[in-house]
């Protein structure tokens, strides 16, 4: 799980073009949206594409997005549960 979290941090930095941010700067439990990393709705779309492209996971219920994308911890947990 820790390895997946580190990989996710690196992927988010690259995909969302987070300038001057290193994987070590992101706390796994900190909120990705709002106060934490400060991501927004366009970033949420980018993460949906990333999940489908890199992990072949489709989010069937968009209402659950908020819960799934809350932090690196919740994202990693969701991937682990849903990956074949």
């Amino acid at each position: 799980m820790e390895e997946l979290k580190e990989k996710l941090k690196a992927q988010l930095i690259e995909q969302l073009n987070l300038e001057d941010v290193e994987p070590s700067d992101i706390e796994s439990s900190e909120p990705l949206f709002g106060d934490g990393l400060g991501l927004d709705s366009i970033d949420a779309l980018e993460i949906i594409v990333l999940l489908e492209k890199e992990y072949s996971i489709k989010i069937e219920d968009p209402k659950k997005g908020k819960e799934i994308f809350a932090s690196i911890d919740t994202l990693a947990e969701f991937i682990t549960k849903n990956q074949n």
């Binding site: 995909q15 073009n17 300038e19 001057d20 366009i42 980018e46 594409v49 492209k53």
Partner: protein, 328 residues
């Protein structure tokens, strides 16, 4: 109505952004074209906002904000822009993703940023400007159209201050396509060199101590078949503004190293004794290169002895544009 230029800002291949005083040097050609010398954007734009901006957006926002700042205008009555090919880098990214991902799983950012009006929209978002916002895209006369619109808005009393600019970015793919179509050369003496740039201007209809030049008139002519017709059109343009050929003391010519009867005709009208600068020697050829010429003309009026400057540009005779600037 008099229209004054209160500030100018440009990012171009000649390091125009940080220049206190005008210093024109021949740009370095990289990959067969003139690339802009860009400032460190992180010193100007919030890095969190910078991450989604492509080169064109960064250049446009930076020059637009600087022009507003230098004119001490927090919120203009209008933001009007001209661009020929828009945010081509993000368009290429988006199209490449379409191919690579077999038309599925497309990242939204490149698509959102690829539209032509991204730059004017981003400037408005950053300064919280809800006023008139428009982007013209009419090939080589996109900037002239933006200027005409600015002039009309001010003449009609709908705006007192306008931020107007011209911007185009170039990519290696664009240059390769132009070379394949044999309309650009990497050898400067054999044809024209592609370029890019962003130039913005704060316009005002109020006379004041911060006026640096006057925008007298702008005109775009179509359907000119002969050089005689062009001479007549130029004469009419000058007479309309109370001038004759001999009154112009500097011609900024869009001649791009090609033997053009049109540019030669305008040179001949104004006589060879007049100073002629081929401005595309410094910025390269791109659809809104005349905005760089307006930056250069304003600089020469403000910092040197130029009194009446004429900017002439044509796209191989399809259309012709004149921009007239004078000292205040």
């Amino acid at each position: 109505m008099d229209i004054f230029i209160n500030s100018i800002s440009a990012i171009s291949p000649v390091d125009s952004f940080n220049q206190e005083n005008l210093l024109l040097q021949t740009p370095e050609m990289v990959d067969g074209w003139y690339k802009c010398i860009e400032p460190d954007y992180r010193e100007i734009i919030d890095p969190r906002k910078l991450r989604r901006m492509s080169k064109a957006v960064k250049m446009g926002v930076t020059t637009g904000l600087k022009a507003l700042n230098d004119a001490d205008i927090a919120n203009p009555d209008a933001i009007i822009m001209g661009t020929g090919i828009g945010c081509i880098l993000d368009t290429e990214k988006f199209l490449q993703q379409l191919i690579d991902n077999d038309e599925s799983l497309l990242n939204p950012t490149a698509f959102i940023q690829s539209t032509h009006n991204t730059v004017a929209g981003q400037i408005a978002l950053l300064i919280g400007c809800n006023s008139y916002n428009f982007t013209f895209t009419q090939k080589t006369h996109s900037f002239e159209s933006a200027l005409l619109e600015s002039k009309m808005l001010m003449n009609d009393g709908e705006a007192n201050t306008v931020l107007v600019g011209g911007i185009d970015e170039t990519t290696n793919n664009t240059v390769a396509l132009m070379q394949r179509a044999a309309c650009a050369q990497s050898d400067k003496d054999a044809g024209y060199v592609p370029g890019e740039g962003s130039s913005f201007f704060s316009l005002s209809n109020e006379k004041g101590t911060n006026n640096i030049a006057k925008l007298i008139d702008v005109s775009v002519k179509y359907g000119i078949d002969t050089t005689k017709d062009l001479e007549r059109a130029l004469q009419e343009f000058l007479v309309k503004n109370g001038l004759e050929f001999n009154d112009i003391d500097l011609l900024l010519s869009g001649n791009n190293n090609s033997e053009s009867k049109w540019y030669n005709a305008v040179n001949d009208c104004l006589s060879l004794e007049k100073l002629v600068i081929s401005y595309k020697d410094y910025c390269g050829e791109y659809d809104t290169a005349s905005s760089f010429a307006m930056w250069l003309g304003t600089k020469l009026i403000h910092e040197q002895d130029a009194q009446k400057v004429l900017i002439y540009n044509t796209d191989e005779g399809y259309s012709h544009s004149f921009i007239l600037l004078t000292k205040c």
